[in-house]
Symmetry: C2
Subunit: 335 residues, 2 copies
């Protein structure tokens, strides 16, 4: 049974001309009305014609605060969009209200595609976004991604494995880790890679050496302080990201431990900053700019084909000066 | 004598309907033709009607690579734009060609305002931009800003003065500095602040202690290495920005000098990273997000009134753990 504009108008409690305006993308409709009508059109599977004029814009959406990590993403997306004749608009959502406003604005002014970066939308917001029929790609899914939405991530598990294997090869046996935000898929994968490396080397997993972090400096400093205060402290720490690694550096300084002589540290991300800190940080490189470029091309070029794709780009270990053999090993070597 | 469309068409070597299309902002005109016609319209002072529909977009333009500094600017602009119901598009120009493409795109799809961040346009590009009649504000002018274009900067001279006075107050007498890119107004102002502080304290300015940098890590590392290799090395270094300060940290580590015990370091910018490095960096805070927010409000709210305004927002010294009394002073104190 075919749904008519009149059916949608009745369900939405608005006039038929209003529904028609929404269908044809006219601007003179109140945002709330537009959202309601669009949701119903999507629910009834009413085929809205694609806009003829494309705004030439990709909406790159972050949640919370922009951090040094975000700059790599913006940079990669901007380059790919520019090459495709598009511009990148950056939106930063902070809470439910701003997601409402962002969706209202997107609905009124449109975009050719939306890239959600580590952004979790509520089910209601997800429905509203789907109703807009704009191609969406997720970068770094927060949880298990919706199988209908393509996503781009990094090989986080392999990165955690590599980082920990590097420390094991240097001779470390007491290796601690500080996780990222536990609810995030990428954090879980990194810790699982750490565990897998220890298991593979027949090393025990000491729960006292697996500390919960949140990707920020303060919690990592506290966690590293706790681990370094243990009777049997770790000789190496794998941090959930480069910013957490900075917390470990500071804890080491406060404990009068030299890096890498007394304590080895590995980060994750390979932010530009990791080459500037002292000593330069050994870290797992995540191809953030490439991930963003890939997502940009996915929303621009082949949104239909990309549906349900889950891309995972390779990570690699960048060895700098923050990792070395553990002190005990060195003492044995010096004998 | 009033200029007609026919005059402009004749001068541009195109038809009258083409000029009319440009005047009315129609999309179906080749970018080169549009630029040529717009330049002539501006030259003849032909009053182009402002577009009725505002795209709700501010174009935030950087040159070169996005760095951690840029994220603060994007963040501030995004918040201010969002509050005003606008989106922020980020453009990164790398060379003349990309400036051409950017202007062509801006001409075709428009923006409600343009914010140029540390971006130097060629005179030809400046004329093209002026012809588009989009409000423009400059953040951190590269050179002496065009008096007709409003700009927002920070109190760089006062920042350089504060940083150096802080070191003098701690008892330092041999204070080195590493400049930013010498061609930039902000770099010049910071070094002049440094000189003024030394002069005010009746301390000599030793040319060997004033090293040229470029705001990047490598050159600062080399400059700091040179200064620390002098027969009479400095006991403190004021770096042109936080990234340069990281170069000084690394040079100190390689010279086996502890910060702040053997060497004091002050940065500039107060990037989030400066609170995470070890030891946490004393630095001059530049209100980057506020500068960007101010520029955003200036392009959105009162472009006409703002013409020629030059705003300078205050800087402030953030004292962390990288500055202390010089070693000689300590030895005297310990006697």
């Amino acid at each position: 049974m075919k749904v008519t504009l009149a059916d949608v108008a009745a369900a939405a409690g608005v006039s038929v001309p209003t529904v028609s305006k929404v269908v044809h993308g006219r601007a003179d409709v109140a945002p709330e009305t537009r959202s309601r009508v669009e949701a119903l059109l999507a629910e009834y599977n009413y085929a809205t014609p694609r806009r003829a004029s494309r705004p030439g814009l990709i909406d790159l959406v972050f949640t919370g605060e922009l951090n040094p990590w975000a700059v790599e993403i913006i940079s990669g997306a901007e380059k790919a969009a520019f090459a495709g004749g598009h511009r990148v608009a950056v939106s930063v959502l902070a809470g439910e209200t701003s997601a409402d406003e962002w969706l209202a604005r997107l609905s009124a002014s449109r975009a050719d595609g939306v890239i959600l970066v580590l952004t979790e939308l509520s089910p209601a917001h997800r429905r509203q976004l789907a109703a807009l029929r704009v191609p969406v790609v997720i970068v770094d899914p927060v949880g298990q991604p919706d199988p209908r939405i393509p996503s781009v991530g990094a090989a986080n598990w392999a990165g955690g494995l590599m980082a920990t294997e590097h420390l094991i090869e240097l001779g470390h046996r007491r290796i601690g880790t500080i996780t990222g935000r536990p609810a995030l898929l990428c954090s879980q994968a990194r810790v699982d890679g750490y565990r897998a490396a220890l298991e593979h080397a027949d090393l025990p997993i000491d729960p006292a050496l697996v500390c919960t972090g949140d990707f920020h400096f303060e919690a990592a400093l506290a966690a590293a302080h706790d681990m370094l205060s243990l009777a049997d402290p770790p000789t190496a720490i794998f941090a959930g990201n480069d910013i957490e690694a900075m917390g470990v550096y500071e804890a080491a300084r406060l404990h009068k431990l030299r890096i890498p002589d007394d304590l080895s540290v590995v980060g994750f991300d390979d932010l530009p900053m990791s080459a500037w800190v002292s000593p330069p940080l050994t870290t797992v490189a995540q191809p953030l700019a490439q991930m963003a470029a890939m997502a940009t091309r996915m929303v621009l070029v082949a949104p239909a084909d990309a549906t349900g794709n889950r891309m995972e780009l390779a990570t690699s270990l960048v060895i700098r000066s923050s990792t070395a053999a553990p002190p005990a090993q060195k003492r044995i070597g010096a004998r």
